[in-house]
Amino acid sequence: MKNSRLKLLSSPYIVWAVIFIIVPLGMVFYYGLTDKTGAFTLDNIMAMMSEEHAKALWISLGLSLLSTAVCFFLAYPLAMILAHMNVNQHSFIVLIFILPMWMNFLLRTLAWQTLLEKTGVINNILSFFHLPALNIINTPYAIVLGMVYNFLPFMVLPIYNALVKIDPNVVNAAKDLGANNIQTFFKITLPLSIPGIISGITMVFIPALTTFVISKLLGGSKILLIGNVIEEEFTQAGNWHLGSGLSIVLMIFILINMAASAIFDKDGEGGLL
């Protein structure tokens, strides 16, 4: 009885998953592993080895790793501050932090374009104070800035969740036993927050690796990321087979990342909320 009711309740999700996850994935694999005539081929997968594609992949990996690192070093102290606040204050601060996420991702990225432009807001303020202009728009730095800005909340929230779950008695016990603050942090707090860190890394690294909008808007389309290559295969070049093949290769990186988080986060503690 209970089982059948559970099945009934989960059926909308199963239908959803089949239509919007399983079928599209199947289509990506079908297109990726066939050529125009419908015959099986691995060419679309191997195309990742070509000079332009490999270069785009390396740049994407580099920039997304850098953004993930920056996000981590910004997010961890912030999450600790949040976790140590009393309940009323922290829900307010968390709200302030999540508030920008309610705005559309594209709009926020466009806003950065307006801020960073040569005649943009930031440079107007700098020139008012006779300070040198900031020329990072259309460079990789602007792309990293856009990634960090957009994905930072996805790093803060899981780490924050992991930190608030740490039993204060454990920390107190360490201090009772003579550990100083630094020792307590490295021996107790940090290891106990690893599930949150891994989850945060996954949630920042994967969208950063696959983005094409940020490099278009903040990189001036001068830096070709693997996301841009795939997007253009679908929209401009009309070669869905190659686009799908490259997507499959990208999926491998995502799977590696997910496997790593599964190893570290056995109890599923590092969920976002």
Binding site: A56, E117, E232, A237
Partner: protein
Amino acid sequence: MKKIFLLSVCSAILLSLAACGNSSSGENGEVIVYNWGEYLDPEAIALFEEETGIKVIYDEFETNEIMYPKVEAGATEYDVICPSDYMIQKMLENDLLAELNFDNLPNAKANIGASYWEQSKEFDPENKYSVPYCWGTVGILYNKTMVDGTIDSWSVLWDEKYKDNILMQDSVRDAFMVGLKLNGFSMNSVDAGELETAKNSLIEQKPLVQAYVVDQVRDKMIGNEAAIGVIYSGEAIYTQRENPDLEYVIPKEGTNVWIDSWVIPKNAPNKENGEKFIDFMCRPEIALMNFEYITYSTPNDAARALIEDDDIRNSTIAFPDLSQYQNLETFQYLGEDADRLYNDLWKEIKSE
């Protein structure tokens, strides 16, 4: 009791859904239009619906390349589409277009200028499938306060002086048009050597380019963000209105003269409504309304005669005398292999 309540709620929802279903198609059916973004005055659609009782379902695309697979796959059955020249040729070659019945298009026959029908023959040899809607050139938009000397050549886009002040088009054919014309080749070239030369020019240019953009050329030039940009003539009038320092020029090496035309796909469910829509858009006062809204040159001579502002009616940007320029061409569909070659070379440029 509870069940009765539930039932009544359900039936109320169903009824309202059914009501929605009814009101969504007009009394005389509907017409599904697929057009470029911001390429029609919404007021014109309202007038059409009011007069004919035909409900317009309006959908927009950003590039010809995004539009094509949707129409080819037949996922949505459109009644009227507005592709560009070379894409119409491709759709014709792949047998996707329906022949128009010009008896239903009196305004198109009467108002569209003869020279535009003539030019349309490059992609629609017998003028049987398409009705010109907008046309224009591609040229250089520059800021008079930020450049010196006369600007009249594509080579200015390779001038070190303007490093980081140049905006290029972020689309394969438009970018290669500039590279090919600079080197004196046809912009419809499929010669591997010529394309290689153009590619090398574009790679050489890349360090000078501030950004590769499409629609944003307009906003960036208005905001004095760059000195020189490659732009469609239709946008030039709008940008000048917003920033009087801007000037548009057709380079002496020649450029692209393009036409966007109304067509009806073979699988159109409401072909007659589609023809009514096209003909309505060809009425002088409606064409004028659209011209004033989108500022892209109209091939509708009757509408042009109605323009009150002399400066606009005789504007050399909106209505250039094409006989004064050399090496003007219209894009042609080059076939799948050439498309592939262009895309591969473009990727090499972008990843440089």
